[in-house]
Each structure stands twice: as C-alpha cells, then as structure tokens.
Symmetry: C2
C-alpha cells in the first residue's frame, strides 16, 4: 500500500487547520483573563505600544526588502518562486505578529493571575507560548501545503516552494538579528544608566528605557525565536520533500509526502503536550499543598484537557523550580511519545522502509539530548556553571576565562550527538535504499522528526519572556512581594527553558542547513563534490570565517545601539524635571524609537552579507566552491553558536547563583565579577549566538533557491 | 635541462651546514659580550637554572613519549619511519635547546649592552633570535636531507621521512602546549599574588615566582615558537616532496627536489636578512644622532656584514619604535627579494614550469600580508586596538566584548589572503600540469615559499623574549632608568613582532596542514573525497569541534597550574621570614618546579587527544571520515587561533596604550578594565591560540604517517 503525496499534503493541511483552531480558542481564553489593576494596565499598554511600534517599523522595512527580493527572483528565476517567497514571508511574519500580540497581553494577565497562584500564572504564560508554538507550525504547514496544491500539476512545484523557505528566512533574519540587537541594546542601555549610574533597580518605572527593555524581551525571545524555528521547520520539510522527489525508487511520491505526514502527526502530538500543562482545572489551583488527581479533574471546565488529565503535571502552590521544570519536560516527552506512535503508522501507511521511522526516532532523541546537554552546561545546579561562580572570587578576568572555557567545552556533546545522528540517519537511509541521496533524505527527515514537536517545545520557550515581563510589571506596579516571588519562579524556569530552547534551535538549524545543502547539491546538478577540488578549500575557509565576521558585526552593533540609548536616557534624566524623584514622566517612546531604528540600521550590513556572499561565491568561484562555503559556515557556525549561547547562559546563571547568597551574594566583589560575565554573555546568548542559526540557514536557502543559476565560476580550471 | 632530486638535496644540505656555521660563529660572538655586574649575573644564573630545569624535565618526559611512539610505529608500520621519527624529535629538540641556551645568556648581555646604547642591545637580542631561527631551518634541513640520502635507493624513502615530521610535531606539542601552559601559569601566578595581593611591582626579586615568569618567556616564545615553526617548516617540505613524487609528469624528480632547493635558497636569503640587522659596525653605534653610511662601515670588524652595509638599517640612539620596526621589516623584505631572485634560478634549473616560481611568490606575499594584517589589528596606533582602549572607559564587560569582536573581525583578512593564495596556487599548478595533484603540490610549495625566509622571520620573533628578560634583569638588578627605558623600547618592538609572528605561524600552519592533508589523501589512496559521502560530514563536525575542546582544556589547564603557583607564592610569603622586607631569600626553584610539573601534567589530556582522535576516527569511521576530520579541524582551528591570538594581542596593547597616560593612565578605572582584558588575553594569545597550530598540524601528520593503516571503518555502507 502506498499513500499518494497529495493525500499526505491534505492530511497535513487539515491538522494545521486544527492547530489554527486551537490558536483561536486559546487566544480568546487568554484575552478573557483579568488584565489587572489600572497601574498594571497602563504599563502593559506602554509595552504593547512599543512592541507594535517595533513590529510596524520592522515590517515596513521588511516589505521593501521582500518586494526587492521578489522582483530579483521573478527576474532571474520564476514568478512562481517569487510568489512562494512572498507567501513564506507573510506566513512567518503573521505567526510572529500573532505571537507578539498575545505575549504583550498575556504578560499583564500572568502578573494578575500570579496574585492568585503559581499555576494560574504558569498556565497563562504557557498558553501564550503555546499560541506562538502552534501558530508557527500551523502557518508554516498551511502555507506550504496550499502552495503545493496550487502548483500541483507543475513538475517544478518543489523548486518553487524553496522560495517559501527563503521568505521565512528573510523574516527570521529581521526578527532574530534585528530583534537580537534591539533586545540587548535596550537591556544594556537601560542597565548602564539605570543600575550603574543612577543606582535605581531593574524594572524601575523611572528609567526611560524600561519599556524598551520589556519590549525587547518579546522582540527577541518571542518573535525572534519563533521566526528562527519557523525557518528551521519549513526548511527541513522543504529539504526532505525536495530530496524525496529525486529518490530513484518507485515510491518517490511517498518520500515527498512523508515529511508532511510526520509534521501533521507532530501537530497532534504538540496539542497533546500543551494540554498536559494547561489542561488542569482552574478551580482547583488555589488549593495549596494539594495535588491534582483524576477525580478532581473530572469536573474540569476545560473539556478537551480532561482527557489528558492522567498525564497532567502535578503543580501546586509549593511547587519548586524542579517541579515546574518536570511539568514542562513531561509535556515534551509526552508529545514525543505520541509522535513516535503516530509516525510509525505514517511510515507503514506510506509504504516506505521502517528504517525511516527509526530515523525520526533518531531525530527526536538527538533534539532532546542536545537540549539536556545544554541544560547541564548552563544550569547552576551543575558543575560547569558552579565552576564559573567559583572563578568570580578571583575577579572578572578569571570569570571570563572560565566562562569561555565552559562554552567551548559545551560544544563537545552537541557536536557528538549531531554527528552520531547524521551518521545513523545516513546509514539507515542507505540501508533502506542503497543510495547516498537516500542517506541525505534520511538526515532531512531526522530534522523533521526533531522539529515535529515544535508546537510544544516552542511553547515552553516563548513562555519565558511573558513570565519575565510579568515580573517587570509586578515590580513597576508595586504588587505585593509574594507576587513578584511567584513571577520570579516562573522567570527562572523560563531562563532554563530558554537555554535548552537555544540548544534545540541551533541543533535543528544544523540539521536543516545540512538537508538544504544536500538539496542544493542535487538542484545544482553537482555530480562530484571532491573536497580537494580546486575551489572547495577556499570556499570552506571563507565559509568558516563568515560566522566570525557576522558575530563581530552583531556584537559591535549592540554596542553602538546601546550607546545611543545611553545618551538618550542620560538626556532624559538631565532634562526632564523630577524624573529621578518619580514626579516627572519619562519619554518611553523615544527609547523604543531609538532601539528600533538603530537595530534595523545595524542589521543591514550583516544581513546583506548573508544573502550576497553565497551569490558572489557561487558566481565567482562556481557551484562547488559554494557548497564548500556552506559546509564551512555550517560547521564553524554551529560551534561558535553553541559556545556563545552556552557561555552566555552559564554566566547568567552563575550570577543568579551568587545572588542566592553564595560567595557574599549581591554587592560582593564576586557578584561584581559575575555581573561582568553576565554583561559579556548578553550579546553572546541573545544576539550573536542565535543570529548564527539564521546565517547558517539563510545562506543555504539562498543557495538552494538560486541553485540553477550557478556555473563553474570565473577561474577556468 | 633537469636537476636530479639528489643534487637538490645535496645543495640543501650544504647551505644548511653553512647555516650551522653561522650559528656557531654567532654563538661565540654573543657569549663573548659583557655579562654585566654580579647582581645581574646572579639573576641570569637563576633564569638559566630554571630554564635548564624545565627543559631537562620536559625532555625526560619527551624521551619516554618518543620511545613509546617509536615502538608503536615500528610495530605497526616500518622501523625506518620510527627511525625518522626519532631523528625528527632529536633535531627539533636540539634546535629548541640551542635557542633556549643562547636566549637565557643573551638576556643579561642585552641588559648590559643596553647601558651603552640601543643598537648594541638590539644586536645582541636579535643575534640570539637569529641563532634560534638559523638553528631551526638548518637542523630541519640537515635532518631531512641526511635521511633522504640514507634511504636514497628505497622507493618508500619519502613515506619514511613523514616520520621526521611526526617527530618534530611531538616536540612542538610539548614545547608549545606544555610551554604555553607553563609561561602563563607562572605569569598569572606571579601577578595574582605579587601585583594584586602584595602590591609589589612586576619583576620584583622578592616575588618567589619572578624567575619562573622570566623562564616562562623563554619557554613559550623561544622554544615553543621555534618548535612550532620547525614543525611547519619540515611539514611543508615533506608534504611538497611527497606530492611531487606522485606527479604523473616525467619530471617528478625535479618536483621532489624543488622544495629542498627553495629551502636552500631561503637559508642564504635569511643570512642576508640577518646581516642587515646585526652587520653594523660595533664601533660606530655609540655615536648618538649619527647614521651609518657605507664609508664608515668599510672599516667594520664584521667582514661578512660589510658587504651588506648598504642595506643596513639606520639605527641610532634616538631611534623610535617605528625606526626599529622598519629595520626589522627591511631585513625580512630584503630576504624575500633574495629568495625570489634565487628561486627563479632554482625553478629554471629544475626545468619545471615558471608557474611554480609564481607560486613561491604567492606564498611569500601571503605570509607577509597576513603578518601586516595581524599588525593592523593588534597595534595601538590603529583603529581596532584604539576601539578596545575606548571601550575600557565603560568597564571590563565592554572591554571584553570589544576585544572579542576585534578578534573575530581580524579573521577576515587572514582567511581571504589564505583562500586567495590557495586558489592562485592551485590554479597555477593546474595550468602548469593539468592535474588536481599538481594544484595541491603548488599549495605545498607556496607553504615552502612562505616559510623560506623563516631563518630571519623567526629571528625577529625569538628576539622579543630576550629583550623582555633583559628588562626584567635591569629592573631586578636596579640598573639606571635609562637602561630600563632602552630595554622597554626593545621589548615593545618585541611585542609587535611577536604578534606578527603569531599571524605568520598560524598562516603557515594552515598551508602546511593543507599540504599534509593532500599528501594523506594521496598516501591513503582515497580516489574520491565526496563531501556528501556517508561519513564525511560527521567527520567535519567532529573535526571542527576539536579546536574548541582543545582550547577549553588548555585554558582550564592554565587556571589550574596558576592556582598551584598562587598557593606556593602565598606559602613562601607566609613562611619565609623577611621576604617582603627584602631580607629573606625566596625559593625560586620551588615555583619553577611547580610550573614545570603542572604544565607537563596538564598537557597530557589535550596532547593525547591530538594523537588519538585521528587514529580513532580513521579506524572507526574510515579514511574518508578522517579526511573530513582534518578539514574540519583545519578550518575551525584557523579561525579560532587567529581570533584568540589577535584578541589577546589587541587587549595587551590597549592596556599599554592606556599606560602611556591615555584615559587616566595607570591606576585609573579604564586601566583596571584594560588589565581584565589583558589577563583574559594572556591564555588566548600565549597558550590556547598558538597551541591550535600544533593541533592542526599534529593531527594531519599523524594521519599521514598512519595513512596506509586505515580502511573503510566499522560502519558498513
């Protein structure tokens, strides 16, 4: 028995429509929660306004970018690819907009709910993250499946759809790089004047950059992360389908359909995982010290959730960080189990070798293993981060050295896991089909498997900034200490899930880039990619250099943008009477505007490089050199991204560990050294590191889209 | 007309014997200089004793290592390769010993000569560096040519000689990695207790770690750098000869001989360059304000020097740093011009295409271009370092971020230069001979060209620590301020040449590693190195990870070793009565012993990884995966090494810039931030960064030596 590709497409389309249904239902539910008192609502409105201002401005610039690139594509390639490009950009942009829209409304509701209990707060924040997660997978799947159906009779349909991936990558570039610069510039700018010069605490409403800082959390960690993973998700499916179509076997239709089927299965599994966290009966959450059991939840008002109650995490008011983490982890594991079960059926129905199911298993395990390795290296309950905390005792220099060493050391496991996953996937594919292409198809499918539960993994991730914002709002509106205490607990949890999310993002970026590279080589009709060929090594070296150049530019961009904020904040403290005393009103908008403009300006150079360099190398040195370039960027970028993300995460948590009272606690010399580490880590983990994911994927997708245009280059060998 | 290979070999042997003659003559001359007063001699004796203690201990450990590896080689490969391995180790070890021997005797004589004038000091320090430089090239050439002649009739002679390269690599591992850990552990240990805790100045004789620190300068920058470049020098010649032998053309004998001829030409050119600096008449140097001209030098006692007087740099007592730098630069340029002229004759005599002469030109230009790029990014007269200095005003965190960004940015030019050099070399070789192997032979030959002037470039480099030591001795023996002022000028110059030397070392390491990789692929009989082959990508990823793991281990090693020194220095200040008051006598030997033992202990793990991982991957995943591993390590290691070396150099010079009185000068907050940068930079530029050169080359040469032992791996595709 064999399933036609279009049947798989229609199944994927249907499940993603169900995902949209969930998003609508959850959105209504969250907006229905209490938005807090007047002070809270005023602050939230300012954040909403700032976020909207940033997104509007970003989308204006993006619109110009999209029009230019679409024109280039339809001039040099086909109008169909240009159309797909535009649809990809709109789908990713739409998901990002929706995620931000709810995040900046869920924050104040989370703060209000945290007045009543920990789980209530968790549910709203997580529900907001779930909207982001499900929007990303649903919008991506709907876009791709509809385009597939539109071009159904065209033999180039999959080539056109690569344009969708390019569109998604373009949004990711703006959201991740621009957003990354925005968020850290606002953060550093706010801290440098507020904390350091004026001695006022974090999230103090007198600080003119405080709203920009809170907007930044959403811009970077909601919209940025969402767009990044939207790109990975779309890219891995496109790459798998493209490679599947070239498999010489009779069942190439099944190979094209399988990644869509796995994605469809993942949508269902993600919904299952999400309900494991949010499905708990609202009415029982305030019974402090008690745990939920099946009989209680039988009375649940949330009917869909009730079916899953047996799996629902036990969270009560005395829940520790560990309990909350367990709840989130169980939801991801639950979703993984569902994916495995359903994808076994999918593989059987598709009529392909059972090896491809094992490949999905490999992808899922690898994704989770990388996430755990990341957690080990960045959590302050573990040795690596504690070693950094210890190093703070001998000053800032040893703190930095130890942090960099930890970051470098933390690359070993993710690389080994990825290498083994690639090796196993290729081996399994090869065993099933006997060709190298089958092996590469298997790698792409492993990527699809890894990302299949994205709906819920992204939910655990995008929930963080909502909790962080909630804490800021609680602080600024002077809510009772216990509320802030609860939002802090949620925020801590968010830091851990953000770190693992980053590991997941880079791991999936590498698999996606690799799959796109394989698709590129196939599309460019490169028969033999001899590594000692005349132009390969220069290509590899230049490729390996790209992440360094890109990181240098983004790190310096943060510095420049932050400097502009510092000047503006200083100006306001100087010129606005009574600002320091709390009687004057700071001009939040001015800071938001400066962050926005400088972030968009500073991303132009690194962003252009990511698009232009592959085209330049491909045309100047030929298509083989371009393949070398992509391999160099992928391998070097993977390492640098993991190192930067994990050094940054570990520094952050080493500081937090000291703030729990270790080595003299806040204000001690050790703490000062830890703050230096944390400040260095900020652009590492929130700007440059994550931006490398985009660089890796964007360069690959640009090469794939323009694959047919490259020749043998200018040098004649 | 065509030259037989053995004729080239004999020419190379003869010129290197001339090199040895120069070494003996110069050694006698330097030892004849005034070794200063009693206090100076006592300090110098302590440094000599410490250096000997370190070398003796290191060579003991090395002897065991060499015996074990030689046994392994003769068991699994051939006894001839094992013999070559031992000879390579002895030759490199001998050059290192000689270089150290003279450096720790030239230091005190430089200090004494600096009492009389700047150029006198320069000449002794530079002469000492010249002994190191000429020993390295001569010992390497003598060893290889003799082994070639011994195995003259054996068709495997070149395969055996790869063992020589492995022997040289083993010494480099100990000298560069062990030495790098030693030097920074002693430096950091001495500073942490001396400067920070006790508030006594640098180079204060009361500090028990002061001798270990001075020994460390020689261990790291003389013996370490020398062994590093000995390895590159030997490796590039071996790789070129090995590839030359496989060229299908009729003139393969000429191709084998050419690298030796180019090296021979380089020996002559280096001697020319060296005399441009040291050839000035001794009797005229004290005529302050006057410059040397041809008529004065006609009376010169140094007869060989007299012929070159027209080119001799004009150095007088009022010479600025820029003048001194110009003198050294001119010597390198002079040598380059000689190499180009003579190697044109060599190419013509060999009867090979003129393209190969162009390749030598490409190598020479690339080496110098990388050195200049390095200088631009690390000199405090240029923008990048000044930007770091500016960033110190906003604290340690921005200093670190800016320094890392500068380091990352500084990778762009060296990578582009190397990529273009590889591309041009391959293109020229390809044009001349039409095969891929000819192109790779050309790359190896470019490496030989780049390193041909090593005798003089290493002299400009190994001179630095002698000047540094001279300053320390002047300080400790309370010589007049003007003497210290002169040694400081010499030391500053040394810092600049050390930075460019590091750029040169990494650039040559990459070309050598690439040539060795090509030789490995040929020797392992790999026909097709498809980059998308089943095991290549995992190989590349693991390879790209190795430099990160290696750097993490070496950085942590410095931390651990420094910690032991700190404890010992604290103990001595605590237990030895009157130490702080200057009446007690510190136990220098104890600190030297601890540095030695901990450095040798801490290098075991990273060192073993460099040898074991290629063997493991080659046997487990097969010979193709091993090629991928080498490419990954080479590209990722190149980037990381350049970044670390240049960040470190730039931080160092940013601090020095502030110490000239900028931004508040010494003791200001900006200076404190700059010190943090400099301290982070220390293991970057002196331990981890340079150690990566060794990693890259050692992994390649291990693979080449064991090339025939690898099969298709355990996974069956």
């Amino acid at each position: 028995m064999e399933l036609p590709a279009s049947a798989s497409i229609i199944i994927a389309l249907s499940t993603s429509l169900a995902g949209i249904g969930f998003v609508g239902w959850q959105l209504r539910k969250i907006l229905g929660y209490d938005p807090g008192n007047e002070a809270m609502r005023a602050i939230a409105a300012a954040i909403q306004e700032g976020a909207t201002a940033f997104l509007t401005r970003e989308y204006q610039v993006l619109a110009i970018f999209v029009i230019i690139v679409a024109t280039v594509i339809s001039t040099f390639l086909q109008w169909q690819t240009a159309l797909c490009f535009v649809v990809g950009a709109i789908a990713s942009g739409g998901a990002g907009y929706l995620g931000m829209y709810v995040a900046v409304r869920a924050n104040v509701r989370t703060a209000a709910a945290a007045s009543h209990g920990l789980h209530k707060g968790l549910r709203i924040a997580f529900g907001s993250g779930a909207i982001m997660g499900m929007s990303v997978v649903s919008f991506s799947l709907i876009g791709m499946t509809l385009l597939y159906l539109v071009f159904n009779s065209n033999p180039n349909q999959l080539i056109y759809i690569t344009g969708f991936g390019f569109g998604a990558s373009s949004i990711a570039l703006f959201a991740r790089v621009g957003g990354g610069i925005y968020t850290k510039a606002a953060d550093v700018g706010a801290d440098l004047v507020g904390k350091v010069e004026k001695g006022i605490p974090e999230d103090d409403p007198r600080n003119p950059a405080v709203i920009a800082d809170n907007v930044g959390d959403n811009v970077g960690d909601v919209a940025g992360m969402g767009a990044d993973l939207f790109e990975s998700y779309s890219g891995s499916i496109i790459a798998a389908a493209t490679l599947g179509a070239t498999l010489s076997s009779d069942s190439s239709a099944a190979f094209v359909g399988l990644p869509f089927l796995v994605a469809a299965v993942g949508v269902i599994a993600s919904l299952f995982g999400i309900f494991m966290v949010i499905g708990k009966n609202q009415d029982t959450t305030q019974m402090s010290g008690q745990t939920t059991n099946l009989s209680q939840t039988a009375t649940s008002s949330s009917r869909i959730g009730a079916y899953f109650m047996h799996f629902v995490a036990k969270i009560d008011e005395n829940a520790t960080l560990e309990d909350l983490l367990t709840a989130l982890r169980r939801s991801i594991w639950g979703a993984s189990v569902v994916v495995l079960g359903l994808s076994l059926i999918a593989v059987l129905v598709s009529g392909v070798s059972i090896n491809y199911w094992l490949v999905i298993l490999v992808g899922l395990i690898a994704g989770n293993a990388i996430a755990y390795a990341t957690e080990y290296f960045t959590s302050y309950t573990e040795k690596p981060t504690l070693a950094i905390a210890k190093a703070t005792q001998t000053g800032a220099a040893t703190t930095i050295i130890q942090g960099l060493a930890v970051g470098m050391m933390s690359t070993v496991l993710p690389v080994l896991i990825t290498a083994v996953a690639i090796l196993l996937s290729i081996w399994l594919g090869h065993r099933a089909d006997g060709t190298i292409t089958a092996g590469l198809y298997a790698v792409a499918l492993a990527g699809v498997g890894m990302l299949s539960t994205l709906g819920v993994t992204l939910a655990t991730d995008a929930y963080g900034p909502v909790a962080d914002n909630a804490g800021g709002i609680a602080e600024m509106s002077h809510l009772p200490a216990e509320v802030r205490h609860r939002t802090d607990a949620l925020d801590s949890l968010g830091n851990t899930t953000a770190a693992t999310g980053k590991g997941f993002a880079i791991g999936s970026a590498v698999l996606t880039a690799l799959a796109l590279l394989a698709a590129y080589v196939t599309a460019a009709k490169i028969d033999n990619l001899n590594i000692l060929g005349p132009t390969m090594l220069p290509g590899i070296l230049i490729g390996a250099m790209m992440p360094y150049l890109f990181s240098a530019l983004t790190m310096m961009a943060v510095g420049k943008a932050a400097h502009e904020i510092v000047l503006e904040v200083r100006r306001q403290f100087h010129e606005i009477p009574g600002l320091m005393e709390g009687t004057g009103q700071p001009d939040y908008k001015a800071c938001v505007g400066i962050s926005t403009e400088s972030a968009l300006r500073e991303m132009i150079l690194p962003g252009s490089l990511a698009v232009v360099v592959p085209l330049l190398i491909g045309h100047m040195l030929g298509k083989e050199a371009l393949a070398g370039l992509l391999i160099g960027t992928m391998s070097s970028g993977f390492l640098l991204a993991v190192m930067m993300a994990n050094s940054g995460g570990a520094w952050d948590n080493a500081k937090k560990w000291i703030e729990t009272g270790q080595y003299g606690g806040k204000g001690s010399d050790a703490h000062k050294a830890a703050v230096v580490g944390d400040t260095v880590g900020d652009p590492f983990k929130d700007t440059s590191g994550p931006s490398l994911n985009i660089l890796i994927k964007l360069m690959s997708i640009v090469s794939l889209v323009f694959a047919t245009s490259f020749g043998s280059g200018l040098l004649n060998f």
